[in-house]
């Protein structure tokens, strides 16, 4: 029997008048865009010199028209399902949560999984209908453009996986964000950030992030078949992206982009589904439990390890990073003081910095979700007191997050240590200093930062916590920007000192500091060791001070 919530979506959004209006809109929009690109791409001018008649001729090549129109069609389908559908799922979920309609559903004996599926496929029923009406155009495109069915099936399998991923992201955001108006746009921005901007980091060696979108499959499987007839090879840009997304190095083996996309999106779907499941069970539960957060963080670290393995073991990288390794530094305008052999070191710093920034972002997210605010802690203590327990169980949602934070930092430090050892033991990678300090120092600062975040989360509410994060993480960067505009060279040491206060800018500095031979002729204007000392000491003081104040608050 059809899921009641899907049936509700169909009844609500696909009444005859809705069907006519949305159907007309979809067909008119699709026909206009598709046919315009089809006819435009179909026309080809044969110059007079090549024409048999001696006059310039206009000939029609339908194959080229269909191939050219495919991307437009895909974009429109994406607009219907990914943009309109995502906004719809997020806003309705948040509206119903605020109004109390979710409570009705929560009280029904339906399994939370059925409820999630009902919302995912029921709310965007009209958008699915609009998508359905574009399929005849797709069929025309496939037949006329001679695009291989198997490749199209792969693309659309990934397309639907992405749509479900975006809608689930929107649903989870709708469940979490309290204001319905905000939810729709927060969801769209989150989808853009997570699945459009974050994949850009894939260009910096962390290849798994590139597979959060349909782009790898599109470029890897479809673009080579969209060449105009008679064209021998792809353009320079197309060739690069197609090469980038052909085979993905992961640990010591290679994976196809479609498989990798499914694995990546599947993992994220799993995490989001678990969050939605918890929220459906009881609204007041945090998005992740502590064991779940540790598990997710562990998976992220395995993906990081797998993606960076080829780079740290053999110096191989894909994307822009891999491309830059092959460039001649004398031709790309690098500073004179950098020797030709500095390029691998710079790449290493970029990759290491990206690794730590990604870890910081994950730590911030997980600490925010899993470390209990003062209210939740109080509830835990009251409950354990009434149940006659000496303390709140360590992995409970209400338990203090000291051990949890320690576990996260340990995991990421171990992963970094493995990568470091890999580079040290590699014969080809020479851009890592073989000292224990190179692992110990970043690990220590990561621990201090995480402890400060945890203490802030557990003693302040949202305003205080996010104010602290904004002040500490963003203000130093803004101050540096002002100083740079004022006098870049004169203020360079001051800028470094201030930048070391923010973890986001401290780690790149630390990586430069720990890298061997990057600046053979020391710059007299700057002294990195001073700013590193400032950064380490500040983070230590903050962690200790905030932990003490937290301890005092808890004692009260």
């Amino acid at each position: 029997m059809l899921n009641p919530l899907i049936r509700r979506g169909i009844r609500e959004r696909l009444r005859p008048k809705n069907l006519v209006a949305s159907g007309l809109f979809s067909i008119i929009a699709c026909a206009t865009l598709y046919l315009a690109s089809f006819f435009d791409g179909m026309q080809e001018v044969i110059p007079a010199s090549e024409s048999e008649s001696g006059l310039a001729e206009l000939i029609s090549i339908p194959v080229n028209g269909a191939r050219g129109a495919f991307t437009v069609l895909l974009g429109l389908q994406g607009f219907f399902l990914m943009f309109l559908g995502t906004g719809r799922v997020a806003s309705v979920t948040a509206e119903e949560k605020e109004a109390g309609l979710l409570d009705y559903q929560r009280m029904t004996p339906m399994n939370p999984s059925s409820k999630i599926l009902g919302y995912l496929f029921g709310l965007p029923a009209r958008e699915y209908f609009m998508f359905l009406l574009t399929l005849p155009f797709l069929l025309h495109c496939m037949v006329v453009g001679k695009i291989p069915l198997l490749n199209l099936l792969q693309l659309y399998a990934v397309f639907f996986c992405s749509v479900i991923l975006y809608h689930l992201t929107a649903h989870v955001i709708g469940l979490v964000v309290p204001k319905p108006r905000a939810a729709s746009w927060v969801a769209r921005l989150a989808v853009l950030g997570l699945y459009v901007f974050l994949p850009v980091l894939g260009q910096a060696g962390i290849s798994f992030l590139s597979f959060l979108t349909i782009l790898p499959t599109y470029f890897g499987k479809i673009v080579p078949h969209l060449l105009a007839e008679g064209t021998e090879s792809l353009g320079r840009f197309e060739r690069q992206v197609v090469t980038f997304w052909q085979e993905i190095p992961f640990f010591t083996f290679h994976v196809s982009p479609t498989t990798f996309t499914f694995v990546m999106q599947g993992l994220i779907l799993l995490a989001l589904f678990a969050t939605a499941y918890r929220k459906w069970r009881l609204d007041s539960l945090p998005a992740f439990s502590k064991p779940m957060a540790i598990g997710l963080f562990g998976i992220l670290q395995i993906l990081l390890l797998g993606s960076l393995w080829p780079f740290f073991s053999q110096g191989e990288a894909s994307g822009l990073l891999g491309q830059s390794l092959q460039l001649d530094p004398t031709k790309v305008g690098l500073p004179d003081q950098l020797k030709n052999d500095s390029l691998p070191s710079i790449s290493m710093i970029v990759v290491q910095s990206t690794f730590f920034v990604l870890n910081l972002a994950s730590l911030l997210l997980l600490i925010n979700v899993c470390c209990p605010d003062p209210h939740r802690q109080l509830k835990g203590r009251q409950r354990s007191g009434k149940l006659g327990m000496n303390r709140v169980p360590l992995l409970a949602d209400e338990a203090p997050g000291g051990l949890f934070v320690g576990a996260l930092v340990c995991i990421s430090t171990v992963v970094y240590a493995v990568l470091h050892l890999l580079a040290v033991s590699s014969e080809t990678v020479q851009s890592v200093a073989p000292s224990a300090k190179s692992v110990f120092l970043p690990g220590l600062v990561l621990l201090f930062t995480a402890l400060a975040l945890r203490a802030a989360r557990e003693q302040w509410f949202n305003l205080g916590f996010w104010g602290f994060v904004g002040l500490l993480w963003l203000t130093p960067m803004l101050a540096c920007l002002v100083l740079a505009v004022d006098d870049f060279l004169g203020n360079s040491q001051l800028m470094l000192n201030i930048a070391s206060l923010s973890p986001l800018t401290f780690f790149p500095q630390l990586m430069v500091f720990l890298a061997p031979n990057i600046f053979p002729d020391p710059n007299p204007l700057i002294n990195l060791s001073t700013s590193i000392k400032i950064g380490v000491i500040t983070s230590a003081i903050l962690a200790i001070f905030l932990s003490i104040t937290l301890f005092r608050t808890l004692k009260k």
């Binding site: 009641p4 009844r11 509830k379």
Partner: protein
Amino acid sequence: MHYGDFVALNHLTFSVNPGSIYGLIGPNGAGKTSAIKAIATLLEPTFGDILVDGISALHQPERARGVLGYMPDFPPIYEDLKVWEFCDLFAQAYGLRGEERQAKVLQSLYATGLKEQMHTLCKTLSRGMRQRALLAKTLVHDPSVLLLDEPAANLDPKSRIDLRNVLKKLASDGKTILISSHILSEIEDTCDSLGFMRDGGMALSGTLDEISRQKDRATQLKIHLLEPYPALREVISRIPSLSQFEETGTCKTKFRVSLDGGQKEATQALAKLVETGVPVSEFICQKPRVEELFLELESASKERGKC
């Protein structure tokens, strides 16, 4: 139950007999809605337990939800569904199938007087009609326990009377009903027993008689005579269950006395009066009104607050 360091419900204990209607009353912020939401498994108490039809709402919320019907105080509704579709959605969600589902949907629509509006879109319904639609949705899966938060808040007098009749019918069918309301007369007319909530706890609970006794509030008897009877005071002083004789009119025929006891004592007192030859024309048991008890509790609470 805590919201941060605010205690919303504090050692709240009460029970409702099967097949009865229990009214929760109390000032704003007393914790009525929190209590109902906790029973409905929508809020998690810090500690304690809630048994619904013998099922722990805390440890087996999914099972408990199957026997619960919940109607919140601000009735949200799926605007773009028709009234029957709204009920049908929940009938399906509660696992009803085929003809049984159709029958239950129609039954609940008939019971709430929405037969004629069943094909109307919910967004065109008035507030009172929405309330009815919500009640229909609450009844559709035939729950044994109904939790109604301010069910008559938006209803006109006729609809309130209809609702009262519906609730009484449901209770006589064996359903247990818990109502919270600010409309004290409605509670008085509808409920078999009451709970006065204050500061998250239960100040008083029981039937109106039991509460009156707890509050040392005797039932008042209104006695009217056909003609003056000079020895009435003496006759009444000889009946042990009567006290506090008081004349209420100027024509020496209207009196009020306090009755210590219930119906049985009242019957005995009347028999005694008639036997003595008192020309009784009216004999009315006046129970203390919920409103009076509520105000009395409130003022006592304020006095304690001042102390």
